[in-house]
């Protein structure tokens, strides 16, 4: 039964499935429920934990070499027990004197019981006494002694230790681990719980069995939903763990400055929330900051051009939705609208273009964010010159007479605008 849970804010960096534009495009054809939902969740049967016994060993009247030989033969013999009990050597072999300390040492090695064997050598006779303690049940399961002639090596490996091995039978099986049921959005993957990665089936259910009582931290992820990190305390009776998953943002708004100068407004829609986006944007060059002319000492705080660009973008995030810094990639196309005094038209020189985009989003509170987006642009060149100056050279001269060069013509084919970025604030709705 879940008795307590708490949200975790540990940031994580997990690359998503999208690694490039083709991946982004292909993801358009994925439905939200498709893929993961087709896989069946694994059902979990309760299991019996294997019992582990730590073996302590003490001798009297024996040399250390002889004592070691006896101890090794004991351990080897016990390891061959048919009762599914796992044998762990004592550390230290002699074990502590007190009962509590023996239990503590055993626990540290994940053992739930211990057995103390004491061997006394008297002339040609050997006296063996042993105690076996069941830690969870806090009781001795065996306590006996026997005397015999000094055993040969063959005896030690065949029957000498048999009474002790038989005593292992007295250790009862531990109670079964309880079964827990995860409930949430079908297809959700859960990591951090015993038994490896769990995936919720088409009914939104997955089960697992876990040792209890114990505290576990798990992370649940589902495309389109906010990742969920949670700590749960599991008790002996088992029960349900309900994943409270919030659907990711469906819309966001970008307020930005293109090249740090000209205001731009974008609205983004998420076919797959928090992951795959399409955007429509406007960038107005009607009023902008600077440029502070480099070939002219005059300070010009504002500048204006009768130009506007209309953008369409699509892309996807490479980072999980709850990461403080998220990376996204995509591609965009745009047209350039020139609103001259004659009429509003496409810019007759560079009417449209496209670009890849790579962006960094910084969201310290996992909500709204600041972002920097680099969009090196390729512009279709729709003009020619008739004289002796090539169109590329002509435009380069015309565009950058009073500023640094932010782009270049590639032959007479197209224009490459390398200095092109957006810096702004993104609001998730």
């Amino acid at each position: 039964m879940v008795v307590g849970s708490m949200g975790m804010n540990r940031p994580a960096w997990k690359p998503s499935l999208m690694v490039g534009l083709l991946s982004i495009l292909s993801l358009f054809f994925l439905t939200l429920e498709r893929g993961w939902a087709e896989q069946e969740g694994t059902s979990e049967e309760p299991s019996y934990p294997v019992r582990k016994v730590m073996v302590f060993f003490r001798t009297e009247g024996m040399g250390s070499e002889e004592s070691t030989i006896f101890y090794d033969s004991l351990v080897i013999y016990l390891q061959g027990n048919p009762y599914n009990k796992r044998i762990v050597e004592g550390l230290p072999i002699m074990g502590p004197d007190s009962l509590n300390d023996r239990a503590s040492v055993s626990y540290r090695r994940a053992c739930d019981s211990w057995i103390m064997v004491q061997v006394k050598k008297k002339a040609e006779e050997i006296e063996v006494s042993y105690q076996m303690y069941d830690i969870p049940y806090e009781s001795y399961r065996a306590e006996a002694s026997f005397s015999t002639e000094f055993p040969s090596a063959r005896d030690r490996s065949t029957f000498f230790w048999k009474p002790i091995r038989d005593a292992l039978r007295e250790l009862p099986a531990l109670p079964k681990d309880p079964v827990f049921t995860l409930r949430g959005v079908p297809g959700t993957k859960v990591v951090g719980l015993p038994g490896g990665v769990k995936e919720l089936n088409a009914e939104g259910v997955a089960t697992f069995s876990a040792s209890t009582p114990a505290t576990y931290t798990f992370r649940a992820e589902k495309l389109g939903y906010e990742p969920l990190e949670q700590q749960v305390l599991l008790k002996e009776k088992g029960g349900d763990i309900v994943l409270v998953q919030r659907r990711g943002a469906l819309v966001n708004l970008d307020f930005s400055l293109w090249n740090g100068q000209f205001p731009a407004f974008y609205i983004g829609l998420f076919p797959i929330p928090n992951s795959l986006f399409i955007k429509f944007g406007l960038t107005s060059f009607f009023s902008g900051i600077g440029p502070f002319l480099v070939n002219d000492s005059k300070f010009e705080p504002f500048v204006s051009y009768p130009l506007m660009t209309i953008d369409f973008q699509m892309g996807g995030y490479l980072s999980s939705a709850d990461a403080t810094v998220r990376v996204y990639v995509g591609a965009g196309v745009f047209i350039r609208v020139f609103y001259s005094d004659l009429r509003t038209m496409l810019d007759p020189v560079l009417p449209f273009g496209g670009y890849p985009l790579i962006g960094l989003e910084y969201a310290p509170k996992k909500g709204n964010s600041v972002f920097l987006e680099y969009t090196p642009r390729i512009l279709f060149l729709d003009a020619q010159t008739a004289g002796s100056v090539s169109i590329g050279s002509y435009l380069q001269t015309s565009f950058f007479k009073d500023s640094l060069i932010s782009g270049t013509a590639v032959e007479d084919w197209f224009w490459l605008e390398l200095i092109s970025f957006r810096l702004g604030y993104r609001v998730r709705l």
Binding site: L257, G290, P291, P348, P364, V370, S388, S398, F399, L423
Partner: protein, 407 residues
């Protein structure tokens, strides 16, 4: 052990903020915020150095260029002054080039450009100031374009009789010998033209000091070997306004052609505008006469604004509202004005007809190559800052096709 600056900074924050109960997570948020702020500042600073890939003039010019016919291109890298101190007068036939007038520290120089070769300069001896609202020089190409193109220049600021300077100069370029020559003829518009060729015959009592040249138009003739010089002259003592037209041939010989006032109304030889006259002997403006509409125009520059008047046979100046400077009165009678990046076309009465994109183009004049009224368009492409050359590209458009530029 020495700490790096960021570590020192974080250590300082730990002491100052964490000690006051600020959690580590919040600290990282604050650091992130400050780093973002610094990033924004850096981006803005960087952005200030770059301009968008856009030039309104280029875009507007590219709207009109497909309608124009490319004629020729010339270039030079030997002249380093800004293009706004340069005046290019193209010859309207292929591969011939044109005259390039420049002004350095108020002194004029004249070159001839053909292809990438440069001839000249011929240097002027006088400083040429600029009058408000006017160019410091106006020029017109005429003559035998293929063998001996000629250029007549008028300097408005030198027209006052008290200066004693010649305000009309004639130059020529010999295509065969590739030599720039001149000034082959110098004329004073008031004394050599108005007084000698007109007033000495019609009214010998008029002295040159009693005259004031309000404006002068160099007008192309249908005959390539002639050019008209239309003058608008005020006789100060009598408050009479004369419009006298002269003709100059390729030899530089000037003859009186016509009294434009009489050509409109044979009863008059001069105008007397009712008071207050918009024109006085303290102003010089842009005067134009249209043989097609028989209308005269005067554009003056007052208090930072252009004011334009026109009159016809009634002799009464009417003010019209035009945008920008008048570039030319066309053979059709329409007016073309340059309003920044746009060309504005008006009817002879000043009614707006349409506008078109000029951008980096400009219209120096209308000529009649092969008898067809043709507008010349030029575009400077200055690549001298990039260790390139200054190009002047010339385009033509039959005046009858001007309306094709209408968007």
């Amino acid at each position: 052990m020495r700490q790096s600056l960021p570590l020192k900074y974080i250590s300082f924050l730990n002491k100052t903020l964490i000690g006051k109960g600020v959690q580590t997570k919040e600290l990282s948020i604050r650091i992130g915020f400050w780093m973002t702020t610094i990033l924004v500042q850096a981006a803005l600073t960087l952005a200030g150095c770059f301009a968008p890939t856009f030039n309104e003039g280029v875009s507007l010019a590219s709207l009109s260029k497909p309608t124009l016919t490319y004629l020729h291109s010339v270039s030079t890298s030997r002249i380093s002054i800004p293009t706004n101190q340069m005046y290019y007068y193209p010859v309207p036939i292929n591969k011939i080039g044109g005259f390039l007038g420049i002004r350095i520290e108020d002194y004029p120089k004249l070159y001839y450009l053909k292809g990438s070769s440069l001839k000249g300069p011929i240097e002027g001896g006088d400083t040429i100031p600029t009058l408000p609202g006017l160019e410091f020089v106006y020029g017109l190409v005429f003559g035998n374009y293929a063998t001996m193109p000629m250029l007549i220049l008028h300097f408005p600021s030198l027209s006052a009789p008290s200066l004693g300077a010649t305000d009309l100069l004639l130059f020529s370029y010999d295509v065969t010998s590739s030599s720039l020559q001149g000034p082959s003829v110098t004329q004073k518009s008031l004394s050599d033209l108005a007084v000698s060729l007109y007033f000495s015959i019609t009214d010998p009592s008029v002295t040159v000091n009693d005259l004031h040249l309000l404006g002068l138009q160099l007008r192309a003739s249908m005959t390539e070997t002639e050019v008209y010089i239309d003058t608008f002259i005020l006789q100060k003592s009598a408050n009479r306004y004369y419009e006298l037209s002269f003709r100059m041939n390729t030899a530089g010989t000037v003859v009186f052609d016509s009294n434009l006032v009489s050509s409109r109304n044979s009863n008059y030889t001069y105008l007397q505008f009712t008071n207050p006259s918009p024109f006085s002997d303290s102003m010089v403006g842009r005067y134009l006469f249209s043989p097609a509409s028989k209308k005269s125009y005067m554009q003056i520059y007052q208090q930072g604004l252009y004011r334009t008047f026109f009159w016809d046979d009634e002799g009464t100046p009417k003010e019209i509202s035009l945008k920008g400077r008048i570039s030319s009165v066309l053979s059709s009678g329409n007016l073309v004005c340059n309003d920044g990046s746009y060309g504005m076309v008006y009817s002879p009465e000043g009614r707006f007809l349409f506008k078109f994109g000029l951008g980096t183009l400009s219209i120096p004049y209308e000529l009649y190559p092969s008898g067809t009224p043709t507008l010349m368009f030029i575009e400077p492409i200055d690549q001298r800052d990039e260790r390139g050359q200054l190009f002047y590209e010339t385009y033509t458009l039959p005046t009858a096709d001007l309306s094709k530029l209408e968007e």
